[in-house]
Symmetry: D2
Subunit: 225 residues, 4 copies
């Protein structure tokens, strides 16, 4: 199991507009756009929202993080199996707001793959992305932290980061692995990302804080075509 | 909102017998015993299980942990509001398997109280319990880490820890705040804990790994009478 | 062993003006002022500077942090005994730039006391200071993080924080335990802190970045009289 | 600046036999063997011991860890420049007892290189070693955590780990980068490690706890020849 490409992943973070019932509502908007435009759109929601969102929509739901522990005496960690049985198809890992130890990231990617969760691992730069590629996750999302939440997209402000990431992670050719994030908000941002070799984008506030999320999402989808 | 006392809190941890559908099943056993014996029994489940468990049973459901962040750009953290809108009435904090920084614990207890989540904060010893009492959580669960998961209960093996904790946390009198955990498995264990001034117990493997959880739980309830 | 009061503790942090040879130079300025004014002045230096500074000056040298581990297989941690045998008389703990888990802070204060290191534990607010008092360190330095490194001192900007901290930590009377920090730069800042019940101050950039550290330090000393 | 190969790095950890004056004594033994056998032997000591050890012996002294912060408002962290000006020629990083976040490891290797500290980064397995190679440290020490401190060396118990690590890290050829650790105690252990493509070993208790450290060290040196 994996995600089809090109893909748009919407990270709901802990935004008030994107938790609980709002998470379901926003996920339904994503589902609507996904169906109308025949595009792969996945949503990464608060752990506590995974069950209800995944039971209300028919698009891939991701966890925002899982821990590396297996079954047993672990309190307060997010068990991989737990998000899976509640409907998650995959998980983000190592987001800039939840960085992981290198050895734990390695172990967690392995665990996720072992039980069939799609892995989308974030990287702060192409070199980190290259290091992460060693663990062979399904996707690597390169997001320069200084651009996250800002008004400039990485593909517009620093296109060389995207092409360098693709080159490093795909070993000089092309591959279906590299996503880009940070500041992605417009059709043009997505278009450039795809031109530079990315197969999708990871977005957050651009959608969750949009006045009209449906329109904002369609703008992004247009960049994929 | 708070929990009635005396109370038994069952920590489902990440046990295979206590996640997903199994979490619902075990929570129903807890609900059955709670009703039959007219006892307050709460369950602390995996974050991803909060929604389904809280919608299937009518006993208090707790989160095993929440983070201190508010709404906003936080990925992979457990937002207090998120567990609340999904059905949690409260949360464990600072469990020996998820210890927190002192300043973060202070902030998290405050956040939980502000939005109406019952707080059950774990402490490794009476001195730590006394320090935690400064933050005024609803309950403080004293659990010597060396006894967790073992065969000896704290109230049997080290009764002085329980009475010392009660004395320190309740400032020399009695109060409805002190729970004890670690190794609690029998009627006698609970009985002693209550005699020593505790108002409840925090249990895990004694129930989640019991061949007959219903019987095991009733044994504990008998100790409360 | 402890520090005499009133006391000024200068935290050298990782300032370029306060490491290596510069650490020795600045510590000698502190020693000069201490002797000339007959005042207790201690310096908290980079771990790697403890040996050389403590062998060049005759004022108390503190570590900025120690870990809770004992002798044994621990790599990269700062062993309490290690700073002691190299000349430290005590240690800061739980600084806002190095916060600790509650249980680890408890254990570390205990370790430090067991081997005879003076403990100066930082707290972000009076409530945290009160919680920390449970562990009975030698000193508690209350430093609101939002004022650290700024131009307003806690005793000037928020005098109620100082008096509240003294009240809570000293149980309504007076005691030789409370230091204040954050923004302390002038004679007046120190004077107010002492009037409000503090027995000393914890300073950093006010001295390490001063054009004339000797003069800046004498200004602070004047506030103690 | 780098370390000559083959190299033996002795990690003093927090062993009672290897701190303070004992650190100087043991470092002198290492220096003696280094000179007599014309072998590169480096010692990784407690941060507080760097100054005195580096001023008493003429062999490379390493820090056991450094943090990623630069000059400035950082309390309790180990500044790269601070260990350097006190005599360290390099540093261990990411030891199994001090694992680092992937992004922080990347930044710290870069910082260390920028200021001229030799970097020896530990890895739990060949895959992690391969990921770490992306950051281009001077050396990568592969140490399976389950063998650290034990009686079986990695080169004897799991030779395939060593050869796999060399293959991955050196991209199929040979290179002067791979060290092995964990359980290394005998001439034979070292000999095998070198045969398998390693250029040195990282040892700890085998020397620090030896009844006769000089003899134990000479045994290891014999394996290099």
């Amino acid at each position: 199991m994996t995600l089809a490409t090109p893909v748009i992943i919407v990270n709901f973070k802990a935004y008030e507009t994107a938790i609980g019932e709002n998470a379901v509502k926003l996920a339904k908007v994503c589902e609507k756009v996904a169906k109308e435009t025949n595009t792969e759109i996945a949503v990464a929601v608060q752990t506590a929202d995974i069950f209800r969102v995944s039971h209300e929509v028919n698009i891939p739901v991701l966890s925002q993080h899982i821990d590396d522990n297996s079954f047993g005496s672990y309190t307060g960690n997010v068990l991989a199996e737990s998000v899976k049985v509640n409907g998650a198809q995959g998980t983000l890992l190592n987001h800039s707001e939840k960085r992981l130890r290198l050895d734990i990231l390695e172990a967690t990617v392995k665990r996720a793959k072992d039980i069939g969760l799609v892995t989308v691992v974030c990287a702060n730069d192409p070199v980190a992305g290259d290091a992460i590629a060693t663990f062979d996750p399904d996707f690597i999302a390169v997001e320069p932290p200084e651009l996250i939440g800002g008004d400039m997209s990485v593909s517009t402000a620093k296109p060389e980061i995207v092409s360098d990431a693709v080159k490093k992670i795909c070993n000089g050719t092309k591959c279906d692995k590299v996503l880009v994030g940070a500041g992605v908000k417009t059709t043009e941002d997505v278009k450039k990302a795809i031109e530079l070799g990315a197969v999708g984008v990871l977005v957050a506030s651009g959608i969750t804080k949009a006045e009209d999320p449906e329109k904002a999402l369609k703008d992004l989808v247009n960049g994929l075509k």
